[in-house]
């Protein structure tokens, strides 16, 4: 109902605009004195002032957005490289917000200040090499610093060293769900290919090559996968059908899954799921979400439908690359826990050899 009303209002607003503009025009016709359709001094004055008002509007939108929407942003990062990412992000943001504030101000203030007046002559000013040199070199220096900073951070994040201790996990994408594969006892992933997917009556859900001994103790899980805290994880990504993108926003991690090749990304989770649930930003967010869900549930139960379950925070793996109709619902839960809990969980999962028996 509210929806219909909103729509009706919007359509009526549209019609109103149309009508107002027609009336506007008719009233212009009546006067006949000035229908030149070229801006007059009065138009310049009005629009110049509106330009100034628009500057205020831009600032207002910016301040409102930061004030009101900052709370929806991602909480503190839960990976070792995350703080470096966040620092670079906020430094870049500070620079662009500064540049935005100044340049928009100058642009709109000039538009306001130099609004046309009859018989005033503009200042004939064609170029100024010093000035142009200065504003070429200043952005150049700033960008140079950002580039170097970015490259160093990028190098650190993308440099995947295969050290002994690292946990190797394969994230396997298909339309429209995820699976995770662990190397098992030997921490080595067995060879795999889509050719083997139909082996063992479809029980070979990620196509492990059963002739490779490394694969027999591999463990494949769906719905959720677990990571031990503070241990480096090397992810190997595969896809069986179309492009997908493994996006783990809380860890500042993303990599495409490409059929026919194996891509890699690595990070070290630093905050357990349980600890993240205690984070004050997350607590606030969960409370907000549950309030919304409670309100929505009231409407649902009134219509005889089931109420929504209360929400509890979990790390997420999402798909960020368009992949077909259920792209919007391709998810997996990530649980970060202590090494002990992780081992316990892992020991409860079936190995490949157990599954195919």
């Amino acid at each position: 109902m509210t929806l219909l009303l909103t729509l009706a209002i919007l359509i009526l607003t549209g019609v109103a605009f149309w009508q107002i503009s027609k009336i506007f025009e008719l009233s212009q016709m009546g006067r006949k004195k000035d229908d030149s359709q070229i801006a007059t001094e009065k138009d310049n004055d009005l629009n110049g002032k509106l330009m100034f008002a628009f500057l205020v509007f831009i600032y207002a939108v910016t301040i409102y957005s930061f004030w009101s929407y900052s709370k929806v942003l991602l909480p503190e990062s839960a990976s070792a490289h995350g703080p470096a990412y966040d620092t670079l992000l906020w430094i870049s943001f500070a620079i662009i917000l500064f540049a935005q504030t100044i340049t928009q101000a100058v642009l709109h203030v000039f538009a306001y200040k130099y609004r046309g007046i009859n018989n005033r002559k503009a200042y004939f000013y064609t170029h100024n090499n010093t000035l142009e040199f200065v504003w070429t070199i200043i952005p150049a220096i700033i960008f140079f610093v950002l580039i170097i900073y970015g490259m160093v951070t990028w190098g650190n994040i993308m440099n995947i060293e295969e050290d002994e201790d690292a946990l190797v996990i394969e994230l396997y994408a298909q339309q429209w769900n995820w699976k995770a594969r662990y190397g098992g006892e030997d921490n080595v992933l067995g060879d795999a290919n889509v050719r083997f997917l139909n082996d063992f009556d479809g029980k070979n859900s990620v196509g492990i090559d059963s002739s490779d001994p490394n694969g027999m103790d591999d463990i494949v899980v769906s719905q959720e996968f677990h990571l031990p805290v503070d241990r480096k994880v090397i992810f190997k990504f595969r896809s069986q059908d179309v492009l997908h993108s493994a996006y783990m926003p809380h860890f500042r991690a993303q990599m495409n899954c490409v059929p026919g090749m194996i891509t890699e990304f690595s990070f070290t989770p630093t905050i357990t799921t349980a600890d993240m649930r205690m984070n004050s930003d997350v607590v606030d967010k969960v409370n907000r979400i549950n309030k919304i869900r409670y309100e929505n549930s009231k409407e649902l139960t009134a219509n005889g439908e089931e109420a929504l379950e209360p929400y509890q925070f979990d790390y997420l793996l999402l798909c960020a690359k368009i992949c077909g109709s259920s792209h919007y619902n391709m998810q997996m839960k990530i649980v970060v826990e202590s090494e002990k809990d992780y081992e316990k969980w892992l020991s409860q999962q079936k190995t490949f050899s157990e599954i195919i028996q």
Partner: protein
């Protein structure tokens, strides 16, 4: 060439005798650049633009009120919206076709087609394009391509739905989604024809600018509009063929069993035979066009803005040579930055560093342009005609949208906002809205030249201010839902309770989008009404310096009766000291004692 020389040497009387125009040769299969410009404007901008914008409003409704039933869905989507609820496949199709239409049909063909065609001959002092015939063929190929694209909307399984970037394997395998069947085939055919049309147009623009400038019109006396159109055409000629090759290879993979982009694929219980191809290769090919495409869209808009800001400030454009240098620098760099769309595609991370470097370099000439526009306003005498408002609006959105490019262009920062709404907000502001503003500015400014009548300025003011407010209302909050981690091209975000608190922001965005859509109706009304009933235009309504305003208001074949005027100065002698008027036409000889402006 003989035909060309005969045109440029013949005088006014000859034309009337030689060209007996019928309705068909004058309005339909016209070879006259002014008529072709109008054809592009009406088909490319008004018609295709209307469809492209309307589609965005449909999927915005779904995003604000997910899975609700709407009567408009029932009417326009029919079986694709059972009981008025939009189907997820059709959501993706709408997103795909919206992107395709807006980027290619409206902002490439519509924008360049209209203004390059109208202004290149008129501003350089030529009778017409180098080849009127190729120009006509270019338009009709565009027409054909548009019709095929629209026909794909009537395919039973729906039009292409793999995103406007049509990455395989999704676009290659009909088993993966309904939109990758006949709809995708039509998309590819349409785009192949589109590329042909675009190439014919671009070659014509390049040849015309190089060969047909009137006496005295040296390259450094060209208005910045022409520089922008000229360089745009060159980028188009360099990059569009690569899209054509990508499309052809994709057609081969789809229909002839080749494996250019496909390898190791298992769909619907079946192992497919494809071996050895790579989707990453397609991404390289696509973005080798795709990124220059951004500048193919943007440069003409910036050219138009340069011209209008100078004219309406009654001041020379500040730093003419720096502006030309920036256009050239942007054009060059635009061909070596495509990899920034692929930081996390699986390509070697070292390439990521290289592309970060080139990408942030391109921000420098862009910044120079923005600063030069702002300095042009300084101490001007600004005439706020609607075209000027949209030009200033362009500078504003170009800055806002461009700045977030510094974040996205940085490979490190791209990791966590790649394919989120942050990207959507960024490119809509910097190339979508900015280019549309340039387009609107151009329409308001050159409407008198196109149709001989003036557009209503008050409606123009209403159009601008509502659009300007809505554009920020739509795209500013969108950055935040992107930084909250919401990926783009999601049919709904209700599948993740984590995103529940973004729902109200989506409503705000949709309300502003609908408002913006309503404002475009004002423009449409103004356009059509002014075309037929607008006030008759004077020859040079904006008191501009460029040559098109020396041609008569009534369109004549060959543009100028009698000899083509010669050019004696650059295009920006506004408010030059020692002159009676605050403008001096480019065709006015340097007076005694006057020094030619050094620029």
């Amino acid at each position: 060439m003989s035909e060309l020389t005969s045109i440029s040497h013949s005088n006014h009387d000859d034309h009337h005798h030689h060209h007996k125009e019928t309705f068909i040769t004058k309005y339909i299969f016209s070879q006259d650049h002014k008529m072709i410009a109008k054809q592009y404007l009406i088909l490319g901008v008004l018609f295709m633009g209307f469809i492209g914008v309307a589609m965005s409003l449909l999927f915005r409704l779904q995003l604000a009120w997910p899975e609700q039933s709407f009567a408009v869905f029932d009417i326009f989507l029919g079986d694709w919206a059972p009981e008025g609820v939009m189907d997820p496949n059709i959501y993706l199709a709408l997103v795909t076709i919206h992107g395709t239409i807006m980027v290619f049909f409206v902002l490439t063909a519509g924008l360049s087609g209209t203004f390059s065609n109208l202004l290149i001959p008129l501003q350089i002092g030529a009778r017409d394009m180098a080849s009127g015939l190729l120009n006509m063929i270019s338009f009709w190929l565009f027409f054909l391509s548009s019709m095929i694209m629209l026909a794909s909307l009537f395919v039973e399984a729906g039009p292409a739905a793999a995103g406007w970037t049509i990455y395989p394997p999704l676009s290659a395998l009909p088993q993966t989604q309904p939109g990758s069947g006949m709809g995708m085939t039509l998309w590819l055919i349409s785009m192949a024809i589109f590329v042909a049309s675009s190439l014919l147009g671009s070659l014509n623009y390049i040849v015309t600018v190089i060969n047909l400038r009137t006496k005295g019109m040296s390259m450094f006396r060209l208005p910045l509009t022409i520089w922008a159109f000229f360089v745009t055409a060159i980028i188009g000629v360099i990059s569009f063929p690569v899209l054509l090759s990508a499309a052809l290879l994709l057609i081969m993979d789809r229909s002839f069993g080749t494996s250019f982009f496909l390898s190791d694929i298992f769909v619907q219980g079946e192992v497919l035979h494809y071996q050895g191809g790579s989707p990453v290769l397609f991404e390289h090919l696509f973005w080798f066009l795709g990124h220059p495409e951004v500048y193919i869209v943007l440069l003409p808009a910036l050219g138009i803005t340069s011209e209008i800001i100078a004219t309406s400030s009654r001041k020379p454009i500040f730093g003419y040579r720096a502006m030309v240098a920036s256009i050239l620098a942007i054009a060059f760099l635009s061909t070596v930055v495509w990899g920034h769309h692929m930081f996390i595609s699986g390509m070697n991370p070292f390439l990521g560093s290289v592309f970060t470097f080139t990408t942030l370099l391109i921000a420098i000439p862009s910044a120079v342009k923005a600063f030069n526009y702002i300095t042009t306003l300084w101490k001007g005498n600004l005439q706020f005609n609607p075209g000027m408002l949209f030009s200033i609006g362009l500078v504003s959105t170009f800055i806002t949208g461009g700045l977030t490019g510094i974040i996205l262009g940085d490979s490190t920062l791209d990791i966590n906002i790649h394919d989120t709404y942050f990207v959507v907000a960024h490119f809509h502001l910097v190339m979508g809205i900015s280019a549309l503003y340039g387009l609107f500015a151009g329409v308001y400014h050159w409407f008198p030249k196109l149709f001989g009548t003036m557009m209503n300025k008050n409606l123009g003011y209403i159009h601008f201010w509502i659009t300007a407010i809505s554009a920020y209302g739509v795209f500013f909050p969108m950055h935040f839902i992107g930084m909250a981690g919401l990926p783009r091209r999601y049919y709904t975000n209700t599948a993740f309770p984590y995103f529940d608190d973004l729902a109200n922001i989506n409503v705000v965005i949709t309300v502003f989008a609908l408002l913006a859509g309503a404002a475009q109706l004002v423009f449409l009304y103004n356009f059509i009404h002014s075309m037929f009933f607008g006030k008759k235009a004077e020859q040079n309504p904006w008191r501009s310096n460029t040559m098109e305003w020396t041609a008569p208001v009534e369109h004549i074949h060959g543009n100028w009766p009698g000899e083509i005027p010669h050019v004696h100065r650059w295009a920006y002698d506004y408010s030059k000291p020692g002159q009676d008027e605050d403008f001096v036409l480019q065709t006015t000889p340097i007076q005694k004692g006057e020094i030619e402006t050094e620029h």
